[in-house]
Assembly symmetry: C2
Homo-oligomer: 330 residues x 2
């Protein structure tokens, strides 16, 4: 079946070591190199990656582990990671955790014991443990949400500022009271986005208790729907809403349409593009969510580590789509 390096060596009349050198760019005389290449061709030799990885203790594959492959945000992020990784000669495999910590653990374990070159991880939950990877010195970078536990490189966006901008845009359009639908209470990005909204709310609303106008949902379509409904049922409902991610924006929008309050009747600002929304859906403000940029930044950090960069964990904050990444403190 599959030829081995020994058979190639035999056919070329050289030692296996020489074949290996030809394949990996070692010093070999042109005469031998030629014969080896011929032997490789005629035997259709393909080096066995598993054996090579075992010997070398590493591979050229990067794992990108994400919580929801059906969320356009993560697929855009994936494109960013691929972009950089392929350019550097690495392949990228995607692993979908479906927000399940167990599936996540399984893929992390695969990356670790499979000698992958590194991992870009969008953590499924706050409970994600990275200790084993860090101990084994397997390069890891988190994106979107930071992980708790040992410090690793991370790329996040500037949630507070983005929320502030989106909310401000609504007030600037003339809406008087902007509600907020954000993610789970125990997710950092969710509380940060609520914070940004709250600042603007306090500043520009004609009174009203922020606590009354914020809803902590689940970052998914159904949650956005339900939260929107609750807000509409308030004694004094908001006339606009800032929604903290793309999926929930869709849910909120569905709810508004059902309640016959389609924008601009009620204003909607989405943090994150709604890529499949057809045009001619006016009254919707989109605050760009630099998914792809998060991905490229994460891959860049990871590649540096793979190349042996030492030093403390870094956090890169991406301010907005198109912005240059900024590195604050280490």
């Amino acid at each position: 079946m599959a030829a081995t390096i020994y058979e190639v060596a035999a056919l070329a009349g050289v030692s296996p070591a020489t074949v290996s050198r030809v394949l990996n760019g070692g010093r070999v005389s042109e005469a031998y190199a030629q014969r080896v290449r011929e032997a490789v061709d005629t035997l259709q030799f393909r080096p066995n990656r598993t054996a090579r990885n075992l010997r070398r203790q590493r591979s050229e594959i990067i794992a990108l582990i994400i919580p929801d492959i059906e969320n356009p945000f993560f697929t855009a992020l994936a494109r960013g990671v691929e972009d950089q990784a392929l350019r550097a000669g690495y392949s990228v495999v995607l692993c979908n955790t479906d927000e399940h910590p167990e599936k996540e653990a399984r893929y992390l374990e695969m990356a670790l014991s499979g000698h992958l070159a590194g991992v870009v991880l969008a953590p499924a939950s706050a409970a994600t443990r990275l200790d084993a990877l860090v101990e084994s010195r397997l390069p890891v970078v988190t994106v979107d949400r930071p992980a708790h536990g040992p410090e690793v490189d991370a790329v996040v966006m500037d949630d507070v500022a983005a929320a502030r901008r989106a909310t401000t845009a609504l007030y600037d359009q003339g809406y008087g009271r902007v509600g907020c639908i954000t993610g789970p209470r125990d997710v950092d990005t969710a509380t940060a986005r609520a914070t940004g909204w709250r600042e603007v709310f306090l500043d520009r609303s004609a009174g009203g208790d922020p606590a009354e106008y914020v809803r902590f949902a689940d970052y998914r379509v159904a949650g956005g729907r339900a939260a929107m409904l609750e807000l509409l049922r308030l004694p004094a409902p908001p006339d606009a809403v800032f929604v903290a991610n793309n999926l929930m924006s869709l849910g909120a929008l569905q709810q508004l349409v059902e309640a016959d309050l389609r924008p601009p009747a009620v204003g909607l600002a989405s943090l994150g593009e709604l890529p499949f929304l057809p045009p001619g859906t006016p009254g919707i403000t989109v605050e760009p969510w630099p998914a792809r940029e998060l991905g490229t930044a994460a891959a860049a950090l990871l590649l540096e580590r793979i190349d042996g960069a030492e030093g403390p964990a870094r956090t890169v904050v991406i301010r907005a789509a198109g912005d240059e990444p900024v590195q604050p403190q280490a």
Copy 2:
């Protein structure tokens, strides 16, 4: 760093073989098993997959290779594959080829030389060569589009019938002349869908040359847009259009909105769901595209092969979402 099976054996006072047996369910006395488990715990031993795969000549990982990770059709398909595979104890890694044959070749090579358990492939182009995999007896199943070359298991949908249904639905709604936007001429699914449309067109249109009302685009948003524009500029434009996939439907819709012909002014039937389309977008007919079912069927076939099933290549045709798969000829 990472403990080996030898260190576990030493700590437990047994041989490495015994440790291996404990880990893989061989016959071991309870006393020894106990001691081994303790040693595994205290050393935090994690078996080295690379070594195991090299020895066993196989792994528990299935690769799913798709052309476009940002297309909801393929992500839905991925969920179907994952579903089945995880249930059977396999992990699934996704590989995005971006429609590039070279990237595809790279991932196929990875699957082959990395001893993956099997491959589910949605071929990027008609040029995809599967010979090497087949020769190496690596189980492969194609989905969506069949591959040329050696016969392998395949799962496809019933393109002609689906196109027929979608087109018929438009005529039934009262439209008089339905155009067609399909995929590239050299893609089997594209011509099959055009065929289904053509049958109904000839049957129910008040005259008109089908060749005039069909456009072969690229299965992408931009192609749908451009094709729609062309159709609208015909001397006698169609008053409805059957679009052969989800992405192009979106493009066509964008074009209609721009031309102020938003459905139902011009009818639109999409082959494939538009998952992020908000409700209250009336006048759009959706012919379900059983993406997830394609995925589960493909995984089922693959798992049988992995389990050693022999015999000729099989083709499963999925008729519609929810249908039971049908197996025609072998």
